[in-house]
Every structure is written in C-alpha cells, then in structure tokens.
Amino acid sequence: MNRTKVDEEEYWNSSKFKAFTFDDEDDELSQLKESKRAVNSLRDFVDDDDDDDLERVSWTGEPVGSISWSIKETAGSSGSNHEGREQLKSRNSFSYAQLPKPPSTYSLSSFFKGRTRLGSFQSLSDALTDTPAKSYAPELGRPKGEFRDYSNDWSPSDTVRRLRKGKVCSLERFRSLQDKLLLLEEAVSMHDGNVITAVLIFLKRTLSKEVLFRELEVRQVALRHLIHFLKEIGDQKLLLDLFRFLDRTEELALSHYREHLSIQDPEKRKEFLKTCIGLPFSVEDAAHIQDHYTLLERQIIIEANDRHLESAGQTEIFRKHPRKASILNMPLVTTLFYSCFYHYTEPEGTFSSPVNLKKTFKIPDKQYVLTALAARAKLRAWHDVDALFTTKNWLGYTKKRAPIGFHRVVEILYKNNAPVQILQEYVNLVEDVDTKLNLATKFKCHDVVIDTCRDLKDRQQLLAYRSKVDKGSAEEEKIDAILSSTQIRWKN
C-alpha cells in the first residue's frame, strides 16, 4: 500500500503533466467545485437546523424544554397556538430567502454567530442579524473541517450553563489541561450530572487515561460520574484500568466477577468463574467465589447425570416426581434440597449426595437439618424425618434432638401436611409447655392438649377445650374420663 502511494507521489512530481489539486487558485474547476461543496454543506446545515428549529420551538416561539414556554402555553388560549407556529414557519422560510450564498466554507462560520445574551437561539434570522461573535457551532456529527475557523470564546461557566440547557456547544477549544480542569470544576460546581458526564466524555476523548485518572482521583464527584458512565456504556476494560489505577482492588475484582451474570452457557460460566478465583477479593469473599465455582461445577455434573436418569425412566423417584427445572445456577440451599429430595441415600463419595454437599460447603448443622427435613417431609418419608433427630449416646440409648428447636420442626411438618400422629410425636418434644400447648391447639393435636392440661392440673383449660372438640368423639370421651377422675388434684 505504502509503496504504491509513494510511487504515485513520485509519478506526479516527476511527471510533466500538472497534477490537479484543489489549491490551484486560478483553476476554475476547483472554484466551481469548492462553491458547490459549500452550497451543499450549506444546505445540509440549513436543512438540518431548520429541522431542529421547527421541532425545538413551540407555538409561541419559545424553545421547547424551557419551562417558561409551558407556562405561557397554558396561560394563553390554546387557539392561538397554531397561528404562532404558522408565523414562525413563515419567518423561518423568510430567513432562508435572505441567506447569502457563501462562496466558500469560510463564510459559513457566520451562521454560528449568535447572540451573546444567554437567550435562546430562536431562528436563523436571529443568528444572522446579531453581530457579536458567539459561536453556536454544533459539536457533533459534522466534518470538523467546516468549522476550522470559528471563534469560540465562551467562558467555562458560560459553556457549562449552555450545556445544562441542552444546547450544542463545542468543547474543542478547551485544549490545555488547565482549561479542561477548569471546565470540569465548573460543571461539578453546578451539580448537573448530565453536564459533568458531558465534560467527562470530552476529557476521556482528549486526555490520556493516566492523566485523566490522576486528575479524577482527587475529584471524587467527577470520578463517581465517570465510573457510573463506564458501567453504563459497558466499557469494562477502561473501568478495570481505572480501578487498578485507584488501587481499589475489591471493586476491581467485583467488577470482573459481575461479568459472569451475562454468560448463559453453564460451561463457559464455570470457566469464567475459575478466572475470578485468584482476584483480589477480601478473604471471606474469596471463599465465596471459590464456593460459587465449585457449586456450579457440581451442578453441571449432577444435571447431566440426572437428566440422563430422568429420560431413561428407570429411576422411581424421577418417575414419581419429575424435575420441574434444571438445578444449574441454583443457590446452594436449593441444591441441597434437591439432593436431599433425589439423592438422599447416596453414599458420601458421590457428588450429588447431601452429606457430600454438607462437607464440601461447610453447611451448618442447623441449615442442613432444616433443608433435609423440608425435603423428606415433602416426600412424606417419615422414617427419614425420625432418623434426622435421633441420636444415640454411648450407652445405646436413643434421644431426640433438634438443632432448630422442635417447634420449628412441627411447623415445617404441618406445612407439608404431616399426619396428626407424626405431628403429635414432635409437638410432645417441644420443651416449653406454653409453646407446646399453643402448637398442639393450633394443629389440633388433641391428645397432646388433653394430656398437657392433665399434667398441669388445669381443669378450667381442659373444660374450655372440651367445647372445641367434636361432640361424641374419642377426644371428648377422654376429656370426660379425666375430668371425672378422682386421682387428680386440680389446681382450679
């Protein structure tokens, strides 16, 4: 490529034919072309601005977006609105007619001259008749060459104010670092986040990131805006660079970790999580990240295996209780529930066994029992429930013990529609008598209520309870038998 270019250059230089270039002053063609280009770009500009103007200007000629407009609009009768717009239209078209046809791009600059006052740019005619040179040069989307010469001497505070009003305003003239920072400080002191971000976009484009970061480190308000802006536009790379520069290692790590949320494929997500493990998290968070990775790794294995088992249709539990959803990306407790549901009896060596999960993730006893209880109760596997709370001491005596308290056990069993016999057994194990009585009443464990009242020698309460049980039922008989017993010394 380069070679051909050089060759061409040489050819033109050495050739006796004069090359055609635009800087030939006396070349008619060139002049023609130039003015054609100028006119074209003029039309472009005029059209565009006309467009802009018509849309931004309301019926009464005030720019939309200014509050004063809204007020006048409501205050005035709405009938005149259309008229106003018509007037405006004609005024605008009138002003085109008066537009001088500039011979070159040079004079285009005159269009950007507006009023010094901070009033609004209402129509092109205003822009043309006002002499003081304040530039309205649109900043974006136009070839820079066209405005090479505009003079732009808005002060930082004026510039910032114009930006706040949503007006186009070039920042290009703020070239020295000092000017840029002045502009930024002005924006920050005005408090409008939109303007702060606008200035930051400009600084990001025109400063090296080291300088930008260095200056923002001591300007926290602006810094926060940049961080949020980078997050929003998804410039992850620059964001991470920024955190690195600021030595905010935890935010760096978390920011990287956040990316996993957008990875759908489980294998890829797992691989990504693996890259997070070495990141500078706090000690405890590092452990959580490790767990996250390990869990997903397990889930992928379990999922593949169980999907196979389920589709083969040979395993009873999957036939009786088809899986409602995949276990991938579920929380640890949900995974534990799943494994207590489908893989309860598996030996510790398998990845899907509850005991294995408990060990691997150091699940506290309480949490384990709670989850296993819920899963086994859902399957109405009362033997397993029983076993969960049975402990043997060294003499071989069995004892019931629940790390979560038997009142909770009862509630969970009740929620899973356990039969009264089972409920009764556990209500009886509740130590606090009041709680026991409350639960027994709530869950209609008549025997427990009756026996407890008897043990408390509370005749009144027993009498009251008699009215709650069905007439002629076994419970009523039992109560009557107790009430008529002469053995008991009632306390009331």
């Binding site: 467009d51 901070l118 989307g141 976009i201 300007r219 308000v221 805006h225 935010e251 978390l254 506290p364």
Partner: protein, 590 residues
C-alpha cells in the same frame, strides 16, 4: 373516622393544570409533529411495524439507545429506509447522544425532548416517576436527575408563585436547591409579583431516613402498596381480590370515596369500617322496600347509580383486605412486626438476629431477608463483624453467590455495613481527606463517607422521641401522634424532622440532631421571604422527597396536617417502599 380537616385548613392548589399541560405537550409531540398513530411498549425485541417512520418515547438511558441503534442498524442492513425520532423524557443526556454517534446512527435519528416531570397522582401528590433516581444518586452518586428536580421546582414556582420559606436537608437537597435558585435567577422576572400560593417548601434526601422506608407498612394504602404494588396511582387487583376470574386495574386516589376514607387508617380499623359501611349500604338498598312507584322512580334515577358504584368499590376493598389478611397470616406477619419493633426500640437484638437468620435459612423471600438485615444494620450502627459474616454467608448460600454484588452495593449506599473499630476508620479518613481538593465533595471523600457515616439511629431516636412511651394500649382508632402509622411503635424520622423544623421555622435548636444525622453542613433554609404572603399560603407545605417516599410517610404527614391545620403537598421522585429500595440495590433481578 376518615379525613376531616380543620375548617381553617387551606385549599389545595389545582394540579389538574399540570395534567393538562403534560397531555397537551405529548399529544402535540406525537400527533401534530410526528403523526404517530400507534403506540408500542419499548421492549427488547424487534419492531414488526411496516410504518415509514418510527418514533420512540424513552427515558434517557444507554440501554434504550442500544436498543434503538440495533433496530436502525438492522434496518440499514436490510436496505430499509425509515425516519426515526427519539423523544427523550424528561430530557436528553449527552451520554445518550454519544452512544447514538458511536453506533453510527447519529443523524439517522432525530431527537426531541418532552420536559415532563410532574405527574399528579392525586390531589396532594406529585410524582416524577423516576424510580431510577434512587439507585443513580444514592448508590452510584450520579447527579443526572438534579437538573430535572430543579426544573420541576422551577415549574412549580412559576405556576404557583414563589416559595416564601424553604428548608432542606441532605446533600442532594442542597444541590437541587442551589441549581434551582440559579435557574430562577437566570429566568428572572417570571415569578416576580406573583403571590405565593404555597408558603413552605421542604426538601429531604432519602438517606436522611432509611429506617422509615425499610419498615413494613400497616396503614391501608401502604399495605396495599407493599402487597400488590401500586403503579402510577393504580393497582392490579388479581382474581383473589375481585372474586371473579379476571384481574382489575383500579385507580387509587381521592376520587374513590371508599378508598379515600380508609387509605390513611391503620389496617386494624379498616375491617370494622368497611363492614359498617356495608351495613349502611344495605340499609340504603333496603329503603326501596315499601316505596311507591314515584319514590322508586326517584330512587332508581338518582341514588341507585351511586349506591352501585359504592357497592362495587366496597366489595373491591373488602376483597383486598381479605387477600392481605390471608397473605399476612401465612407469612406470620405478627412475628415479623414484633421483630421490627424490637429492632426499632433496640431490645433483644440477639433474638432479632436469629429471627433474621432463620428467615434466610428457610429461603423466605430474598428481599424480605435483605430488608431486615438492613434494618438491623442501620438501627445498630452496623452489624458486629461476626454477625455480618455469618448472615452474609448464609444469605449467599440461600439465595445465590452472585448476591455478593448486592452486599457490596448495600455497603456503598450505607444500608448494610459492618461495624469497624473507630480508630482505624478515622486514620483512613484523615489520610484520604488530605488528598481531596474537590470543594463540592466536602471534607471527606464519599467513597469513605458511607463507611464513616454512622447512622446513630438510637441517639437520634432518643433525641427526637421517635419511640413513644406507651402507657397501656395505644388506641389506633384515635391516633394521638404520627406513630400510629407504625402501630404506635415509631414516629417516622423523616416526618418528625419536618414537624420540628416547621414548628421552629428554622433548624435552630436541632444542631445536635443534624450532627447525629451527619448533616451539619447539609441543612439549609432559604426562600423569598415574602411579607405579602397570604396567611392561607403559610399553612400549605410542599414536601419534596429526593429518592422516594412511602405511603406511610404521606399518611403520617396528612395526620400532622390535620392536627395542626396545615395541608401538605407531596412531590417525590417516585413512590417507594422497602421492597423497591432493596430491589434497586440488588444486582440480580428477581
């Protein structure tokens, strides 16, 4: 019961003007200018319209720009030419334009703005409908909406006259106030000579009082919001409420006569009220027995319609109450409220902690668990490290490791923190503050201020007497103070601050409270100090909540107004509640 103002209470200003204004602007933008005839919701899916031009009405967010860019670029690729128009509401942001430029569609789409920022949800309630305000400002520290707030205040002052008295608390309030004042100066003259209609304006940042927003609501309107979510002043009542097979969208405002009477009531009164009302209604229906033809004709033509309407509303609200009762019983609301009250009063912290723990272990709603943790943290000046770690671990195990990000957010916002030994913190603080030259940032960098900021809730509560002493039963039927909105257990901090300042007409005497709130530098007074302000106007108060307010706060201030012969008007960036706050902080969408 219901709502009886003192006879000397001022009239509310007429907000229908705002509604008309917004409607006219929108119709003009959509119809006259762009000939829009069909409206679609912007969702992340391709547009199937064959229309020659597409017009988007969007919030100025990057993701909306990306969506539009994808669409335009897909059209370009397919060789299709259309006209595109983007209308930003309430304003265009430079970052959005930048994205349009980067995506190569700047110039292909034209942009417009619809400066709509005040939606009257009710006779006394204006919403900016900017739920994102909370996260943008209080989590990310982005001040993009401050201009919107200032513009809205400017609009209000042009419509309803200048505000003779102005008070505010919070950094955002202070900045909004400053920018608003600048606007007024620039566009001087518009409010001059106008008589003030609203005598006081009070600006308040949400982070001055997180506690109130985190509590379970028990006044009817708040409870309806917590249970069914009121959106833009209306609620979707599902089949369980309507006792039919379809859902019903119901507008909830002062026009609903039944709702109007129960909205501010403690839930325990609502049932009784509704059944009394039902009996009255029955009696009115029953009157038709024994009527002669003429009377009957009268009855049918004049009363029946009203009665039927009332009947419909009554059965809706009874249905809603039943549904709320069912849900609350199921989640053991009584115990939950007990725990909240214990947290507010600061007793049996251990019990509350294990209650929260159990909530987490049993995978009760993730938002609910998070909310309780935050409440514990703020009322206790942060969790002790051991609890913090164990609750966090259990939370991640129950609801997913990715909530690590949520915890980081909550810590940054100061909602859920770990108690740190005081001296290390001050060392870091002083080291950092030496580096900082940013005037607006104050003495300490904000990165650390959330850590350094102690909530001091206990001390504030004592100072402002937020926990009423209860001798015997608190009569919820005849409330004696604003605490009734939380069953007599707690006076909302935000409302108490407002009450105190209005009483004093300044911050004088509240220095200690301000210090405890970390707002010594962030409380201000101002206003036009108009001597000609009509006395009527001085009893009309506009309260501006930056970051959202809850229905409980609104009810509490309505109560205060009733007691003192004031009327409060509310302007909020959005209606909020504990769930919305937590979701805004959550990194994983539920």
């Amino acid at each position: 019961m219901a709502f009886h103002h003192r006879p000397d209470a001022p009239e509310l200003p007429d907000f229908s003007m705002l509604k008309r204004l917004a409607r006219d602007q929108l119709i003009y933008l959509l119809e006259q200018q762009h000939e829009v005839d069909k409206l679609y919701k912007v969702e992340n899916k391709p547009v199937l319209s064959s229309s020659e031009q597409l017009c988007f009405l969007v919030r100025p967010r990057i993701k909306n720009m990306r969506y539009i860019a994808n669409l335009v670029n897909a059209d370009k690729l397919a060789g299709r030419t259309r006209k595109y128009k983007v209308i930003f509401s309430p304003q265009k942001f430079y970052a959005c334009e930048m994205v349009l430029e980067e995506e190569g569609i700047y110039g292909d789409v034209s942009c417009d703005e619809w400066a709509f920022s005040l939606l009257p949800l009710d006779v006394d309630l204006l919403s900016m409908e900017l739920p994102e305000f909370f996260r943008d400002y209080f989590l990310e520290g982005d001040q993009r909406w401050i201009n919107t707030v200032a513009q809205a205040l400017h609009l209000l002052s042009t419509l309803y006259g200048p505000f003779p008295n102005c008070y505010g608390i919070g950094r955002c309030a202070k900045m909004s106030h400053e920018l608003w004042r600048n606007l007024e100066e620039e566009e001087d003259g518009e409010t001059k000579g106008r008589k003030p209609e609203i005598g006081h304006i009070f600006l308040l940042d949400r982070d001055v009082d997180f506690v109130t927003a985190l509590c379970s609501q028990v006044v009817y309107e708040g409870l309806v919001d917590d249970t069914f979510r009121i959106k833009c002043g209306s609620v979707d009542f599902g089949p369980e409420v309507t006792s039919s097979d379809r859902s019903l969208k119901v507008l909830l405002n002062a026009d609903d006569k039944v709702f109007h009477e129960i909205r501010n009531e403690h839930f325990s009164n609502v049932f009784g009220f509704l059944s009394q009302k039902a009996r009255n209604l029955q009696a009115q229906y029953d009157r038709r027995r024994g009527m002669d033809i003429k009377q009957m004709k009268n009855f049918v033509s004049q009363e029946l319609k009203g009665l039927k309407q009332e009947h419909r509303l009554l059965s809706l609200h009874i249905g809603a109450c039943e549904s709320i009762m069912k849900k609350k019983t199921k989640q053991n609301f009584q115990e939950l409220i007990k725990t909240e009250h214990a947290l507010l009063e600061g007793f049996s912290i251990r019990d509350s902690t294990s209650y929260i723990e159990e909530h987490i272990d049993r995978q009760v709603s993730p938002i609910e668990s998070l909310r309780l943790m935050c409440l514990l943290s703020i009322t206790e000046n942060g969790l002790i490290p051991k609890d913090y770690r164990s609750l966090k671990t259990q939370y991640l195990q129950s609801y997913g490791s990715e909530h690590l990000l949520t915890f980081s957010n909550l810590r940054r916002a100061g909602l859920l923190t770990e108690q740190a030994p005081g001296d290390t913190l001050t060392a870091v603080e002083s080291k950092v503050s030496k580096l900082v030259t940013d005037k607006a940032a104050g003495k300490i960098t904000d990165a650390f201020s959330s850590l350094a900021k102690r909530s001091n809730f206990r001390a504030i509560s004592k100072k402002l007497n937020l926990i009423p002493r209860v001798d015997g039963e608190y009569d919820l039927k005849v409330p004696r103070d604003m605490a009734y909105v939380f069953s007599g257990a707690y006076v909302p901090l935000s409302c108490r601050v407002i009450e105190q300042v209005l009483e004093r007409r300044s911050w004088q005497g509240l220095e200690e409270v301000l210090r405890l709130l970390n707002c010594s530098e962030l409380a201000f007074t101002g206003g036009t100090k108009d001597d000609k302000a009509p006395s009527e106007s001085l009893r009309l108060i506009l309260v501006v909540f930056l970051g959202g307010c809850t229905f409980s706060e609104i009810s509490a201030l309505r109560f205060l107004g009733r007691e003192k012969g004031f009327r409060f008007i509310f302007l909020t960036t959005a209606i909020t509640n504990s769930a919305r706050l937590m979701e805004a902080m959550s990194e994983v969408k539920a």
